[in-house]
Amino acid sequence: MSGKEFFVGRYERLGWKFEDAKPRQAIRLNVTNIKRKNLEERLEAIGVQLEKIPFLEMGYWVRRSEVSVGATAEYLLGSYSIQEAAAQIPATLFANLKGRTVLDACAAPGGKTVQLADLMGNTGILVALDVNKRRLAALSNHLERCHVSNAIVYHFDARQVSQLKLKFNRILLDAPCSGNFAADNDWFKRRTITDIKRNAKLQREILVQAAACLSDDGEIVYSTCSLEPEENEVNMDWAVRHLNLQIEEVDCYGQKGLTEVFGSRLDVSVKRCRRIWPSETQGFFMCKFKKRGKKR
């Protein structure tokens, strides 16, 4: 069970008519390192035309550029990061990050880690884990370039996070996933339903460990760039049923989560999740959890 026809058929059954999508290039201002006005002026002076992304406080589309936005002095000095627009949303879903103990469970290559550090104003503790040592070099470069000073990075499988013996106030679980066709031209050729099921299982295993090290007043934001409900709504439904977690309302870009998937009814609270079908952005999914019974 694979191929474009198979997956497009699934998307139609979920209520989305397939269309090819080319996500626009986006950047994110690192406000700890530069003032918004200064960055806008400096980039304009070198021929980079920006357009504010309406649903992101720090995000900009790159409308036109005479230079590579990944090779400007401002980029190299950490004034901004190149980060796809939908991928900028998860870190913004947390309430007050300053001074907190935060976990980025699957951190490399570090775009969201740097964003978390920026939102934390380099205060508190930001623990970043990744299981792939090669990708940690990219993560470290990213932290150095953006002058992050509150992070501790470990070469660690997120499923072993309990070994750190820490309780986290905020956990970003940007889970390893199957990705989506908008971010990978060969996606339909590469992916099978077996991959999706394997990833869904891994995601549940990480979720269990994340929930176990969440403080009582803590928040977990789960995200993937997968369009497949097994890795998204179905897993969230499973988490609500099996872990001591409840799904919180979020106010952000995207459609409500699906509560009926291929004939199965999911917990009604799953609609509080956000699903983004590819268009100007890549495909994305987000869900915010708190411990059950804990109200802010």
Partner: protein
């Protein structure tokens, strides 16, 4: 920590970081704050602010360290826009591209290189006099390290 102090001295700067918070991890130096010190395990891969690494008796500073040194008293030159761009592409600096000199003008000394906004782009070695009589098309500062390195590392 001697490697760091020696490096700072070469740039005419004072090394004033609290050495209690500096962790040497297999030749890589990290500056942690009190909060991170309490929770960081010994097996971390990266923590706090990366300061640089020592290898075969030589010290390779991080750009964070250069930026810290640039905030205080140190040898610095400020360069104009095009020169700044060429410098981060790995090129040396001609006399004519230098807008201001702070600290040492002595041949052989090291100096930080700043752009017109005061951002530290890297550092280099003074290879000729900065005096007015010097030829403007002569290389004045030889590039040792620049922020363009972030791109070269990933290539």
């Amino acid at each position: 920590m001697r490697a760091l102090s020696k490096f700072a001295f070469q740039l005419g700067a004072q090394f004033s970081l609290n050495t209690e918070f500096i962790v040497n991890k297999a030749g890589r130096y990290f500056l942690l704050n009190e909060t991170l010190m309490k929770v960081a395990r010994k097996d971390f891969y990266y923590a706090g602010t990366y300061l640089g690494k020592g290898k075969n008796g030589k010290f390779f500073p991080s750009f964070n360290l250069l930026m810290m040194l640039a905030k205080g008293e140190a040898n610095k030159i400020v360069v104009e826009r095009k020169t700044a761009w060429l410098f981060i592409c790995g090129r040396d600096i001609f006399r004519k591209g230098i807008l201001a000199v702070h600290g040492s003008r002595k041949k052989g000394d090291h100096t930080l290189v700043l752009n017109e906004f005061g951002d530290c782009l890297g550092f280099g070695k003074i290879v000729c006099s900065f005096g007015e009589a010097a030829k403007k098309t002569e290389v004045a500062v030889k590039n040792i390290s620049d922020v363009g390195d972030f791109l070269r590392r990933e290539a």
